[in-house]
């Protein structure tokens, strides 16, 4: 069951504080990097929901994010729909598409599920790449950002946009936690532990998987709609399976099934990409070596390693502190 430990709270606070400080103080390039991190964090959060808590390792989440971006682009630039409505529409469209993929893929497991999602993702990529409606390989430009000037927020300003993305990432994280702690989320975790038993208890397993996959798709769709607004342009590139593969690498590097870990992984991945690519264009090699090291160490990613090493110690220290303060309070009360 998903639980917030002291270490997870600490990591969340540090992440939020770090992102906020960066959003307030960074220059243009720093803000671009921060927004890239926040959007990737949203995507890997969506992926961790299904892979880490449902055993559904998806290779189509990049395509779902791309679908959200294209849906927003078409609704705003071709259908002339107002950006806020288009954003809601993009999230809904991606959610429905993800639900269908989840429902179809729910009967397969392991490598077969991965292949099924890969096929869906590549189908979407190929179609978008060829279809004139989506601008083919030229993509689509002129995508507007949301207009929040009514509440004093100009999203055409990079700083405001980064803060807006941070706010929506926090909301997405809250939604993911609520879902995983709900009856639906608990059932999903039960299915991951023992699908046969959950079915024998009377649960319609495919429906649980499809529902959570759909909800995860909605978060990926939100990330896509924001990504389209970020660069005001969308091309078929984000739908390629390599984007989904990269997201999976980030989830594994960060810590599968922890929600917090993949977000740390997203920050580490983007920073590493920018820093190492300053030195060499073979930055993927460095990520590859790091991934091999994490997998070989048998730790559950970077955050899993930290949890295993310091999690219990921090919990003990906190409970000691609580006991001490309780003991100090007793004489005063008496």
């Amino acid at each position: 069951m998903f639980q917030h430990t002291a270490l997870r709270y600490t990591a969340l606070i540090l992440l939020a504080a770090g992102a906020f400080a960066q959003a307030v103080t960074a220059g243009y390039f720093g803000l671009e990097v921060l927004t890239e991190i926040l959007l990737l964090a949203m995507l890997v959060l969506a992926l961790d929901m299904v892979a880490g808590f449902g055993g559904m390792v998806s290779l189509c989440h990049g395509a779902l994010m791309g679908l959200g971006a294209y849906a927003y682009a078409i609704l705003t630039t071709k259908a002339g729909i107002a950006p806020p409505v288009a954003m809601a529409g993009a999230i809904a469209i991606t959610g429905v598409a993800a639900w269908v993929i989840g429902a179809i893929g729910a009967r397969s497991h392991g490598i077969y599920f991965i292949m099924a999602t890969l096929a869906f993702g590549q189908m979407a990529y190929s179609y978008v790449f060829e279809a004139p409606l989506f601008g083919g390989d030229d993509g689509m430009g002129g995508i507007p950002r949301l207009d929040l000037t009514l509440i004093g927020l100009d999203l055409n300003d990079s700083r405001s946009f980064a803060l807006f993305c941070l706010l929506l990432l926090a909301a997405s994280y809250g939604a993911a936690v609520l879902i995983l702690r709900s009856g639906l989320g608990r059932s999903l975790i039960g299915v991951m532990h023992n699908e046969q038993r959950m079915r024998a208890l009377g649960l319609t397993v495919w429906r649980i998987k499809a529902d959570v996959f759909g909800l995860s798709g909605m978060i990926a769709g939100l990330a896509g709609a924001l990504a389209a607004q970020h660069v005001m342009y969308i091309s078929p590139g984000p739908l390629a399976w390599t984007v989904s593969g990269e997201a999976l690498v980030v989830v594994i590097l960060g810590g599968l099934g922890t929600l917090v870990g993949p977000m740390i992984g997203a920050a580490a991945f983007v920073v590493l990409k920018h820093e190492v690519s300053n030195v060499t264009s073979y930055w993927h090699l460095v990520v590859g070596v790091l991934l091999i090291a994490v997998v070989m160490s048998r730790a559950n990613g970077l955050f899993g390693w930290i949890e295993a090493r310091w999690g219990a110690r921090l919990e003990r220290r906190l409970s000691d502190l609580t006991r001490k303060s309780d003991a100090e309070e007793v004489p005063t009360d008496a």
Partner: protein, 247 residues
């Protein structure tokens, strides 16, 4: 309450269930005996829908459920425990019972709110934990409790769906004599209106708990009657009970 009509199942050339017809009344406690390979677990798999029969029918509370999948049969009141523990190892005993109870109450698919925190689920969890003597272990993880406790939980999870008919596949499998004795009491304390169908190798338990006994051999019903008649049956002694009689 539960009925089979001429159930037949083959795997290739191996005929594992032959023309099995059973009828269990409400509240009846029937024990199925038979040597290894007699087709007892296959019969359970046919009853709950994990296997599809080649021919024949399964009726639950008078309704034909042969075409229904596992989950739908379970929701109609057919629950089972397994010979090998089939639990949620990473979760606590309470969460294991809660997951089953949540499926029964319908809160397992709710998007808002913790399904295990609802009064209905908590009530079932407490009641079942009392029934299967699990109160002291509620907050322990399954991986941290003894094998015997896991066997109790195996039955508890099946009970938490509030079934009409409970199928138990060797509930005392692998537990010591003392623990097995506790299991006898546990089964005898279950509500009398609950229909039980139990596969068992422990003869003491079989004769202690059973209202009726069915013996399978090579997938066929070779005896169906009262425990006293089973004790006196020559055929049974030949195919299965020799070692028990000698002991």
């Amino acid at each position: 309450m539960l009925e089979t009509r001429n159930l037949d199942k083959s795997f290739g050339a191996v005929h594992v269930t032959r023309d099995v017809s059973l009828k269990l009344e409400r509240g009846e406690r029937r024990v199925i005996l038979g040597p290894n390979g007699a087709g007892k677990t296959t019969l359970f798999n046919l009853l709950v829908g994990e296997l599809t029969p080649d021919s024949g029918a399964v009726l639950l509370a008078g309704e034909d459920v042969t075409a229904l999948p596992v989950a739908k049969r379970a929701r109609r009141g057919l629950s089972r425990s397994y010979q090998k523990n089939t639990l949620f190892d990473g979760l606590t005993v309470e969460e294991n019972l809660g997951l089953a109870a949540a499926v029964h109450t319908g809160s397992a698919t709710r998007l808002w709110g913790d399904s295990l925190a609802t009064p209905e689920v908590r009530e079932i969890v407490e009641e079942v934990a009392e029934q299967v003597r699990l109160m002291p272990y509620l907050h322990a993880k399954v991986s941290e409790v003894s094998y015997g406790v896991r066997r109790q939980l195996e039955v508890g999870v099946a009970l938490a769906t509030r079934p009409l008919v409970l199928l138990m596949d060797e509930p005392t499998s692998g537990v010591g004599p003392e623990m097995a004795k506790g299991f006898h009491e546990l089964l005898n304390d279950l509500p009398r209106d609950l229909t039980l169908l139990i596969i068992e190798h422990d003869m003491d338990l079989a004769f202690d708990v059973a209202d009726t006994i069915t013996v399978l051999n090579y997938g066929e019903v070779v005896f169906d009657g009262l425990p006293d008649a089973a004790r006196g049956s020559k055929l049974l002694k030949e195919i299965y009970l020799g070692s028990w009689e000698d002991a």
